[in-house]
Every structure is written in C-alpha cells, then in structure tokens.
C-alpha cells in the first residue's frame, strides 16, 4: 500500500514563535522541528506500510530550511519526503495550502493519506477534510484507533460525547489524534539513514499550479492588527510549607464553592 503522510516543520514550541512586525507572518527559522503531533500519523503510516509491504512518503509545505524536522520524520522510518518549498507560497492560507499539498500528493500517487488533526503552530484544524475534498476521498477524521481489514479501513472517531465507529473502503484519508498509536523513537541506524533518504523539493510551477494564485495574494485574507490580549490581574503565589491547602480553602470560601 502506498501511503502519503502529511507533516509540518514548525518553530520549536519550547521557544514561542514570533511574528514578523511588517507582514505579521510567523518567523520561520532555518532550524525548525517536526510538529510533535505528526509523529502519530507517521507511526500509523509505518505500521500500515509494514503490514502491507507498502511505502511511506512524507508530504510537506513550507520553507525547507535545513530540513531538520523532515529528517526527524524520515528517521522514524519513512521512505522519502516531498517538501514544497517556494517563496511564492509565503503567506498562504489554509485553502491554498490544501491545494498545494493535494497536488503534491496526487503527483506521488497513493492508496491512503494520513494527517494529524491540526498543526501545533497554526491550529486551523480544517486541512484534513480540505485535502479529502480536493482528492475526492472519504475522510475518516479524528481517529483514535485504526484497523485495516482487506481494503476496508475502520476507525474509532472521537466525538464530543464519546466516539463513533466509522468505516470506508480504500482509498481514503485518515486524520489521527495524538494518542492513537505509540510513536516509535528513531534508532541510531534510522537517524543515519535519514540523511541519505531522498527529499524532493518541487516548486509551485513543478506541481502545475499558478504562482499568482498562491501565497498571500491567493488567500483572501489579510492580518490587520496584532495586539497583546488584556492581561489577567496578577495573582498570589505561595510556597507550600505544609499549610497551603488552608489558603485554597479560603479561596473556595470566598468564591462560595463551599
């Protein structure tokens, strides 16, 4: 089975990202890391590829930088990566991103597309179904458990109240929640091999898309203001010396909880 897994390089969440003061776009350093929540999709892709003697291709869009995050994903065991990295894409909204990723996935060919549910830096949370619509696929979204029986994929789909059992025949798109599988750690061998694995970096033109229709100009939106949120009034911080629970009780009394 040929599996495409969408991944994203993001600024290290340990050091919050900054916005360019002129464009308001996220500043993306050369050193970006693999979005941690993508590891679940990669793991699922690898498990299904192992079960079907298949392959896993990573598909990503964004400034390639030094490809650190992509190499982290390859080190887990994916076979190769396609990173659409083109200055024309700067400022692309979700709809443009979906068109670019869908074109890259279609060019590779696939039986299954796997994504996370949302990225940790953008959080739009609409990409999986956008891709499915553009690729004319059913989408089994918010999967917390996935199984393959023959050519049928069955998932447990998270809902607000609990979960639904949902199924569809291949080809299909799955978005996985964190916790759906236990991502493997890259081995030393995997890390070494990742350096040699092919990383294709097509431009927008290579995918047959019009550069004028992507990027900020093609996204139908413009950031007009960025400002700090109103801050909460400062609170009280105390060190527990064995009696801190009494302070909690005072607050519970004051707020009439007890």
């Amino acid at each position: 089975m040929k599996i495409a897994v969408c991944v994203k390089q993001i600024p290290d969440p340990a050091t919050p990202y900054t916005l360019d003061p002129a464009t308001h776009f996220v500043v993306r350093p050369a050193e970006q890391v693999l979005d941690d929540t993508d590891r679940y999709g990669i793991e699922l892709g690898l498990q299904l590829a192992e079960a079907t003697s298949g392959s896993v291709t990573l598909v990503s869009m964004g400034p390639a930088g030094n490809l650190q995050g992509i190499r982290q994903a390859l080190a887990m065991g994916a076979d190769k990566a396609v990173v659409v990295s083109d200055p024309a894409l700067r400022g692309s909204g979700a709809a443009v991103t979906a068109r670019v990723l869908a074109a890259a996935i279609a060019r590779e060919g696939f039986d299954l597309v796997v994504t996370g549910t949302e990225s940790t830096d953008g959080y739009s949370g609409v990409m999986p179904q956008m891709l499915a619509e553009l690729l004319d696929l059913p989408a089994l979204t918010f999967a917390r458990k996935v199984s393959l029986e023959g050519t049928t994929i069955r998932v447990e789909r998270q809902t607000a109240a609990g979960y639904d059992e949902v199924e569809s025949a291949l080809p299909v798109l799955i978005s996985v929640t964190s916790g759906a599988v236990e991502p493997r750690y890259p081995t030393f061998k995997g890390i070494m091999q990742a350096k040699q694995k092919p990383v294709d970096q097509p431009t927008v033109a290579d995918l047959g898309l019009d550069a004028a229709a992507v990027g900020a100009a093609g996204s139908g939106q413009s950031i007009t203001a960025v400002r700090p949120a109103p801050e909460r009034a400062g609170g009280v911080k105390i060190k527990d010396e064995g009696e801190a629970h009494l302070e909690i009780i005072k607050v519970l009394e004051r707020t009439k909880v007890i």
């Binding site: 089994l140 929640t177 939106q221 700090p228 911080k237």
Partner: protein, 315 residues
Amino acid sequence: MKIFVFAELNTAGPSTISLEMLTKARNLGGEVAAFAVGAGSDAAFATLGAHGATTVHHLDPGDALPAAAAAAALAGLVGDGDLVFFGLTQTDRDVAGRLAARTGAAVLSNAVDVKVEGGSVGVVNEILGGSTLVETEFTGSGPRLVVVRPKSFTAEAGAAAQPQVHTVPVPDTGRSGAARITARHAEESQGPSLADAAVIVSGGRGLGSAEKFGLVGELAGILGAAVGATRAVVDSGWVPYSVQVGQTGKTVKPSVYIACGISGAMQHLVGMKDSTTIIAINKDEEAPIFAVADLGVIGDVHQVLPKLIQALKAR
C-alpha cells in the same frame, strides 16, 4: 449579506456552540439561517428559531459521515459575501474544510470574535496561548467561512419563533461521501458536564499515574465539580478524551478552575484561561500556569491534595 450557522443536531438537540453562534449572528443583524445536520425534530428547530434562525435548512445524512454531503448542500446555498459560522468541533470543522475546498473560500479558524463593519468582516483570534490577539479581514470574493471557538459568545434565547424549515435532499457526493458510521458510543463521565460545571478540578501529568489521578476525581466529588484533564493525561490513557480541556479538547469558563499538576502548556491555557478564578498547584515555580492563576501554590500535588481533601471532608 446572509449569515449561515452550522448546527449539528444531537440526541439532546442542537449543539451548544450552534446556539452561541446563532445568538452572535442575531446580534450582528441581517438575515440568519441555520444549516442543521442530523435527525431533526420540531423542538430542535424551535430552539434554533428562538436563538435567531429565521430559516432552517435541514439535512439528515442518516448513517453517512456527514461532512461531504453537508458541504455539497451548503455550497449550493451560500453566495458571494455570505458569512458562514462553524464551531471548533469535530463535525463542524470537517464540513468547514470541505466547503472551503469546494468553493475556494477563505476560512478563518479559532475565532473568538467576529466584527462586521460596512461590507468588511474581521475575525479576532488568539495565538500563543491567548496572550496575543490577531485580527484578520477577508479580502477576496466568495463566501466567508469562520470557525468559532466554543464559549466565545453566550447563547441567549430571544422571543420564541418558529423558523421556516426547508428539507435539504441528500446530495450524491460519490466517493468522497462513502464513509459510514456503523455504531455510536457515548462515554459517560460522572458528575456535572465540563461545559456547564461551575467548578472544575483538572489534572495534569504532575499527578504521575492514573491511580494518583484519582485524587482529582475525589476532590471533584467533594466539591460537586467536573473533572478535567490535559492532553498529555488523555494521551496516556488515564481518562477519556471527553474530559480533555484545551485547544484540541474543550474550552471551559467555570467560576473556579483548580489546576493540579498542570504546567500550563499553551495548548491547555487557551482552553481554560477565561475561568473567573484559577487555583494552581504545581511543583515548578516557573510553570506558565502561575501566570494566569489567582492563587498559585508552589508545592507537590501529592502533599497538598490529600490534605485539602481531608480538611474538606472534616468540615
């Protein structure tokens, strides 16, 4: 400009977020229609009407996963410049994504406010754990899709009004609509629901184990509170996803939120920082949760919680 509000119909009626969005749409003025998906009832339609929908377009996709059919039907209803509201929930997001891809419309997600001035529509969202607000305007043509964070607006019923109900035939969406729901499961949690609870006791990885997480449940039981948890705890399988608070879980605004062993990752803060009073217990003095806490206790939850529980029991 018309405003369409997506309304998922559950067994208990329209989703809470749909009523919040309808109230906002009603206050913005103009023509408001609900696009209701699921098994309908006169009571559900009346609720949508009371919250502001003068028209309800009703689609019942049966056992199909609804996104493909709902997006195809909506695409035929929405016009240039119309505003379409979705909630930041699983099904709403799925439909918004499909509709955006189908129509080429821009979609702005994580909205905490929507401003309409003249012909322009601006959306406010929060980034960096809610510490920074970003305003974005739609600039292109086509419908304007907004995905709204729950609890951004307060649902208020107006005068009772029976909306005009139009039944929408289920469109044929071919392969993209082929996913089927074969069973539905509710994961019951004990006590009050997270969405409505006045008090929430929430636990993070600092509890250390599923067994120790029981302290959170015990305290919640004494206070009549709902139990919440961080994503890390849910991912570890200690508690079900239905109690997750944060960006990828529920947004809550209780009177009192007690964060136990929670460091305060941005992912979590964005879901609870608007609680009226926040009490935090954490070992790490530098934990970001203390920046939003009204009372921050630097201490070990395994010491503080048992004493608190014992003292409350003794009252």
